[in-house]
């Protein structure tokens, strides 16, 4: 199936949660070489409404709720989250099905053991990870793939900086807690795959299984998510005058580079 087909199909079927779930659990590899591969749906991709010009409506992200999916291991890098060969595209559409691809499928496209392949996690939206998650490249394709698979928030021991920044730019909270707390949560998710996890970004807490634990959300991230200012383009564009003044002050910026 060509990429174009894949895109049009995914947009036609977008926002169908049942379908998304069915596709996720179909257990079929979506590689391009085979015939009639299922096409996964981009999960409810956050809607950024543009009303022309700079007017953009950015939703506030105060909470995220849903069942969990544990992804165990330290140093899970962006090449594992989305192998580079799936980045030969000019849009992010359809990346969801390639999340953790090489960890999920072998050479012959047979499923390997991985939480993203497990039936019980197909409706999960809160990912629970360990240390230094998302290290490696700056590819936004990594959080894009996770978001389009259905992830709304990530709880972990620690995150690589660029990855966390990319998540923020998509309105995905990356909240942290210590090793023991994370391991306990991962074990709980394993026992309670349908159990609800509530991430309260503003209060910096996570509630699950009748208990509420403290987590940490980076200050700027919390403010940006809670106030709905995580999409910084319009915010920064409104300072265009000051930006130009700054450009004029810098000795290395040629006059010709500054529009008047």
């Amino acid at each position: 199936m060509s990429r174009e087909d894949e895109q049009s199909e995914s947009s036609e079927r977008a926002n169908s949660a049942e379908q998304r779930s069915a596709d996720r659990s179909s257990g079929r590899s979506p590689r391009e070489d085979g015939e009639e591969r299922p096409v996964s749906i981009d999960a409810e991709v956050r809607e950024i409404r543009t009303d022309g010009g700079d007017e953009v409506d950015i939703p506030e992200v105060k909470y995220a709720s849903g069942s969990g999916v544990p992804i165990q291991g330290n140093d899970i890098d962006t090449d594992q989250i989305i192998p580079a060969r799936f980045m030969k595209v000019v849009t992010f559409d359809g990346l969801g099905e390639f999340a953790f691809f090489d960890l999920r499928f072998d050479e012959d496209d047979n499923q390997k053991e991985h939480p993203f392949n497990e039936q019980r996690y197909q409706d999960s939206s809160i990912m629970v990870v360990n240390g230094n998650f998302g290290c490696g490249s700056s590819r936004e394709h990594a959080p894009q793939a996770l978001m389009r698979w259905g992830i709304d928030a990530i709880i972990g021991e620690s995150f690589a900086e660029i990855f966390a920044g990319n998540c923020l730019a998509l309105g995905i909270p990356t909240v942290t807690a210590d090793t023991k707390t994370i391991q306990e949560l991962q074990a709980w998710v394993d026992d309670n795959p349908d159990g609800e996890i509530d991430v309260d970004v503003e209060a910096e807490t996570v509630t699950y299984g009748g208990q509420t634990i403290d987590v940490t959300v980076d200050d700027a991230q919390r403010k940006a998510l809670v106030d709905g200012i995580w999409d910084t383009t319009a915010l920064m564009k409104s300072n265009a005058g000051e930006v130009q003044k700054k450009a004029e002050e810098l000795p290395y910026v040629d006059d010709s580079a500054i529009s008047s």
Binding site: T50, P83, K88, G131, S137, S138, D218, W230, L235, N239
Partner: protein, 473 residues
């Protein structure tokens, strides 16, 4: 918090305002773009009906997907051709200069920026690529960004960021023969860990750093991100200025050189600057470093024993066990003698002229092992051209290496240059992640360029210092 460091000064000079999020809005002096991470950002601009704010401060190249063998258009791979066409259209519409392959200036983004004099001390430099930290070698504040941030920079000429801490890493003493910049950075990462730099910017200093040329400094800053630090830099000095004076920009604008020099000198860290952390490493004790695992932090001296996972800190144990299984190595063994199938001399870490020259010194008069596939991929068309004029191409080809055109190539396997099956690769690149070089069973051993050359000759990881002795005996 740090005070009086280059980081503090460059930050202050570029700070536009503090945003309601608490982040600072920083002016971006140079925005480098390439074909993989920019098309979606241009798409976002179009959706919002926004234009590129500072096209003259933006510069494009094509590197990740470009074929290194046959570069005739259309490219053999449809997806590569589509990405290239998209970039061509985007830069044409926005009026952005593009070092495309027809200009003779094309190459890996972190090689061409410095080459053309776009990279300068005291600039803020961003690119949708984590190895943007490379440009810090010139005393620039340079870091990788994601695609939504590329949109921000395209639309506003600025970026939203939180200020970080500064760790000074001092490398004292003189390096041994056979020990290079690459070994310094691999040693730093293995000591401080792959997440040791999260929240920090690294300032590299000390005698061993100051005595390096610009290319060596670039190799070090390049891999800052592998240690978790989003940016790394070296204070500018005479070595920096001499290099800059030869670049296009200052050859064309010699008056600018004198005009800007006081600015460059003013942004260097003060002698009494305050740091959030200082780490000192004795450079004279280093030996060539190679990786045994699947993160760049899993490095050891070539003659050192591979550690047992249970002897490592608890949070590293599990990763180490999985890495050793993947690499098929045992604790107690050395990497010296590890069989390799492929030798890759290239990437934004080590594909500049001095890298190719040093590799050629090892290769000259020798033959690539019969079982090894060896390739040299110059970092840019200019590096390639000069190397060819110097006769390096002939040396490599006579020894049995393939000599390719410029691009990222087998560093990340986005073009046709990939490992196959479980091949093991001696690589001068920057990441040994599982699957990084195009095959999920592929095995990558990171090392300096001369070590790559030596491994190509012997067919196994080899202490290049020993190889030298053999040849002169």
């Amino acid at each position: 918090m740090s005070e009086g460091t280059l980081y503090d000064k460059v930050w202050d000079r570029h700070k536009v305002t503090t945003l309601p999020t608490g982040q600072d809005q920083l002016f971006v002096g140079l925005h480098l773009i390439h074909e993989v991470t920019s098309p979606q950002a241009f798409g976002m601009l179009e959706e919002r009906d926004l234009e590129v704010a500072y096209p003259e401060l933006t510069h494009a190249t094509v590197d990740h997907i470009v074929p290194t063998a046959d570069q005739s258009r259309p490219y053999a791979e449809d997806s590569a051709e589509e990405m290239m066409s998209e970039l061509e259209q985007n830069v044409r519409e926005a009026g952005i200069e593009f070092s495309d392959p027809t200009t003779g200036d094309q190459g890996i983004v972190h090689v061409i920026g410095p080459e053309q004099g776009l990279t300068q001390p005291g600039k803020t430099i961003v690119c949708g690529d984590s190895h943007t930290s490379t440009h810090g070698a010139f005393g620039a504040l340079a870091f990788g960004i994601g695609t939504s941030q590329i949109r921000d920079v395209l639309a506003t000429g600025t970026i939203a960021m939180e200020k970080q801490k500064v760790r000074k890493i001092e490398i004292t003493g003189e390096l041994d023969d056979g020990v290079e910049a690459k070994d310094i950075i691999l040693e730093i990462i293995s000591r401080l860990g792959t997440e040791g730099g999260v929240g920090y910017v690294y300032e590299y200093a000390g005698e061993a750093i100051e005595s390096l040329g610009m290319e060596g400094r670039m190799s070090i800053c390049n891999m800052s991100i592998e240690g978790g630090a989003r940016a790394g830099y070296v204070n500018p000095d005479e070595t920096t200025y001499e290099w800059l004076e030869e670049t296009d920009y200052f050859q064309e604008n010699p008056e600018k050189f004198e005009e800007l020099k006081p600015y460059w000198e003013s942004i260097a860290s003060d002698d009494d600057a305050e740091y959030d952390d200082v780490v000192t490493i004795d450079g004279s004790e280093l030996e060539p470093v190679v990786t045994w695992g699947t993160t760049p932090g899993q490095g050891i001296g070539v003659t050192d024993p591979i550690p047992a996972p249970e002897d490592l800190p608890a949070d590293k144990e599990d990763t180490a066990r999985r890495a050793q299984e993947h690499m098929r190595v045992e604790p107690g063994e050395t990497m010296d003698g590890y069989d390799i199938d492929v030798a890759f001399l290239g990437s934004c870490t080590n594909a500049r002229l001095p890298d190719l020259r040093r590799g050629a010194e090892i290769v000259e008069g020798r033959q690539v092992d019969d079982d090894v596939r060896a390739l040299v991929v110059p970092g840019s068309q200019r590096v390639q051209e000069t190397a060819e004029k110097e006769g390096l191409k002939d040396i490599y080809e006579e020894a049995g290496f393939e000599w390719r055109n410029a691009g990222c190539s087998m560093c990340l396997g986005m073009n046709e240059d990939q490992l196959e099956g479980d091949e093991a690769c001696a690589s001068s690149s920057n990441r040994n992640f599982v699957g990084r070089q195009g095959s999920k069973d592929g095995r990558t051993v990171l090392m300096n360029p001369r070590m790559v050359a030596a491994a190509a000759i012997t067919g196994e990881v080899t202490d290049v210092r020993e190889l030298k002795e053999v040849s002169t005996a």
